[in-house]
């Protein structure tokens, strides 16, 4: 495959790996916040090349994995109503409390369209004026600005059959919750590159400031990841915990103020529940007053099933880095990508799925 990109250059990577080996003179536990990092670490084989001293944990950075059962049950309830759902493909197989999924209800007749952006969902509504279209708005700071921009366009064009189900989540408050949990022993964080393009570095500064936790904003290519690990190790060695942007080719230190502005115009932060992590203050987004007409919950009042509390799924522990997926008793026996119990197994970026798919 194409190796011309310097960020995949095996020789360069090997040199950084050697330095990592040299620096990792005691055990370290690092957490990558973002699911794309998780997959990249497995896919590129980094997992099998890192010294045994370094364990890598996956954090709460896969939007599908942290979508709460109640939210899943809500969109499944919507799917059974007389309307058309537009969604990113990732959500199609996420199981609800009764084992339903969008895939299953679609086979039973629900109308579900896979789209690639919120604008496509809006277009679907414009093209089908006699139907109500609900866009399932999941994702972090990366997707929320585009959804906000779409809602603004919908208001301006007075599209009356377009709605969203807001389920967005914000990464910094979740990291705040993790960092302040006394049970969590993490020696450093790989911060999400895509999210940081919007937020910039500032919202992550508290990690080093308040918790002495070194953190690096990292790109997704193998060399990006290896260099970020190397930086984390060096900060440990030199006892200089800091938050560093090592993905400067994509992330400006100040992020993307325009995207944040649109997001803030349309949404306001609210408390919300994360799967496995529980309620986190100020970590969700709900529509501001002027845009409430687009809120599918208010318009259709779906009645979601109450989530079962005892499926045995340990996603919460996995997302907090307390256990590795194979330590979940259901892993690979009851819970597989074909019959996922939790979203960490269904999402392509989930860490259970990554362990299942890539571990030898």
């Amino acid at each position: 495959m194409n190796l011309s990109s310097e960020f995949r250059d095996p020789d360069l990577c090997r040199r950084v790996l050697e330095q990592i080996q040299h620096l990792a003179d005691s055990p370290f536990r690092f957490m990558e916040v973002c699911g794309t990092h998780t997959v990249s670490i497995f896919q590129s084989g980094i997992k099998s090349l890192l010294p045994e001293n370094i364990s890598h944990l996956s954090g709460p950075g896969c939007p599908v994995c942290v979508t709460h059962d109640l939210e899943v049950n809500t969109f499944l309830a919507l799917a059974k109503m007389d309307l058309r759902l537009a969604t990113f493909g990732d959500l199609m197989r996420v199981p609800g409390s009764r084992g339903d999924s969008l895939k299953k209800v679609q086979a039973e007749g629900a109308r579900v369209d896979i789209v690639y952006s919120a604008f496509d969902a809006l277009q679907l509504a414009v093209d089908n004026p006699s139907e109500n279209v609900v866009f399932l708005a999941v994702g972090f700071e990366t997707t929320a600005p585009t959804v906000a921009a779409t809602v603004k366009v919908a208001l301006k064009q007075q599209v009356e059959n377009f709605f969203i189900l807001p389920m967005h989540k914000l990464v910094p408050p979740a990291l705040q919750a993790l960092a302040s949990d006394p049970d969590i022993r993490v020696d450093g964080l790989l911060l999400p590159g895509h999210v940081s393009t919007i937020t910039g570095i500032e919202p992550f500064m508290f990690l080093a400031g308040d918790y002495n936790l070194p953190a690096v904003i990292s790109g997704f290519e193998p060399l990006d990841i290896l260099q970020s690990i190397q930086i984390l190790l060096r900060m440990h060695k030199e006892k200089t915990p800091a938050v560093i942007n090592s993905y400067k080719r994509a992330v400006a230190d100040q992020g993307n103020p325009r995207a944040r502005k649109v997001m803030q115009e349309v949404f306001k932060p609210v408390d919300t529940a994360w799967r496995g992590l529980g309620d986190i203050p100020g970590s969700g987004l709900s529509l501001r007053k002027e845009y409430l007409g687009f809120d599918a919950r208010r318009k259709f009042e779906p009645a979601p099933l109450q989530p079962e509390t005892n499926t045995g799924c340990k996603c919460g522990q996995v997302l907090k880095g307390k256990i590795l997926p194979p330590q979940c008793p259901l892993f690979a026996s009851v819970c597989t990508p074909a019959e996922p119990v939790g979203p960490c197994m269904v999402s392509t970026e989930g860490s259970c799925a990554a362990f299942f798919k890539y571990s030898l």
Partner: protein
């Protein structure tokens, strides 16, 4: 003729006759088909025969690098060729949705005619049904191919052996990404073309000039990764795949990283895997690279004892990981 396909055209009456003559015989006609008997008479095939059938549904009907018609010919011709056979005859059944644009049908039949002529097969029997609007999505095509087996023993997914080399005839993922990027809704600028093409002339040369080909298989749905898994489990051995040897076009690689897809799982319609003893590999590569359908051929891995039925990927960085079958279809990610 009407400019749309009407239910009448599937009635078996005069309208059907007109459709057959003015579209199908015009583009696909040959002495056998022109007789319009209930069945085709085959007089010139003997020995072991290979038969394969496949039904083609694709959205959109026309895509960069092909259309459903040429695809329906290439797909079945290639399946027959993968058994070490020379494809000779095709049957062809159309299921049309009422209201289908007649010009589209004409274009598709013409493209099938050209594809069949290019790979040296004749359509010798066929069928047309028209279903009410909404009962099918525009058109489905079923083709069945028959060919004479020229390899002895015939290649099979169960014949991979430790010590064999794994070759691939060209770049991976072109078709899958071309289709995905041209589906409605994905605004994504590329000039990636489907690789839809017939492979029979190249496989024939391999069999005749190199011989002892253990496995031929085209990595269509599920892509290279899934097909290698099938072969590993059919043969009860392990396959080691070397990531940095797998040819992938730069545009395909780029599109895949943008969408969170893996080119190893994307469909191909004009490539094949060839597994044969390692000492024949360089000869086979030479033959493949001298043919237009195999210009980018490469040696991508080896068959070994290992753990039965599994495919291990040696990554470009030198790490190892499992290359599993895909669960369901690949879907682009959120962010």
């Amino acid at each position: 003729m009407s400019d749309r396909v009407l239910l009448d055209y599937g009635s078996g009456g005069k309208a059907s006759q007109r459709l057959i003559r003015e579209i199908f015989l015009k583009h696909l006609g040959n002495p056998g088909l022109n007789r319009l008997d209930d069945a085709a008479l085959i007089e010139d095939l003997s020995g072991p025969l290979a038969v394969s059938t496949d039904t083609f549904t694709i959205f959109p009907l026309f895509f960069p690098g092909g259309d459903i018609g040429s695809l329906a010919v290439h797909g079945t011709v290639n399946d027959v060729a993968m058994l070490g056979a020379e494809p000779r005859y095709l049957s062809c059944a159309f299921l049309l949705e009422e209201g289908l644009d007649m010009q589209d049908l004409d274009r598709i039949a013409a493209s099938m005619g050209r594809a069949a002529a290019d790979c040296g097969v004749q359509v010798i029997t066929g069928d047309t049904k028209v279903v009410p609007k909404g009962a099918a999505d525009k058109m489905f095509i079923n083709t069945t191919g028959i060919g004479m087996v020229i390899a002895d023993p015939a290649p099979s997914g169960s014949r991979a052996e430790p010590g064999d080399a794994v070759l691939i005839s060209g770049t991976m993922g072109d078709h899958g990404l071309a289709i995905l990027t041209h589906r409605q809704g994905l605004k994504f600028e590329t000039d990636i073309q489907s690789d839809s093409q017939a492979l029979n002339s190249l496989t024939t040369r391999l069999i005749r000039e190199v011989g002892d080909v253990h496995v031929l298989r085209d990595p269509t749905r599920g892509g290279l990764a899934t097909t290698l898994n099938e072969i590993a489990s059919q043969s009860g051995c392990e396959i080691l795949l070397q990531e940095d040897q797998v040819p992938v076009r730069r545009e395909v690689q780029g599109g895949c990283s943008f969408l969170g897809l893996d080119p190893l799982y994307l469909a191909n319609e004009g490539k094949f895997i060839c597994i044969l003893p390692e000492d024949l590999a360089s000869k086979a590569l030479e033959v493949m690279r001298s043919h237009p359908a195999g210009r980018d051929a490469a040696l991508i891995g080896y068959v070994r004892e290992g753990q039965k039925g599994r495919v291990v990927l040696r990554t470009s960085l030198g790490g190892h990981r499992l290359l599993d079958m895909l669960e369901g279809e690949q879907l682009p990610r959120i962010c």
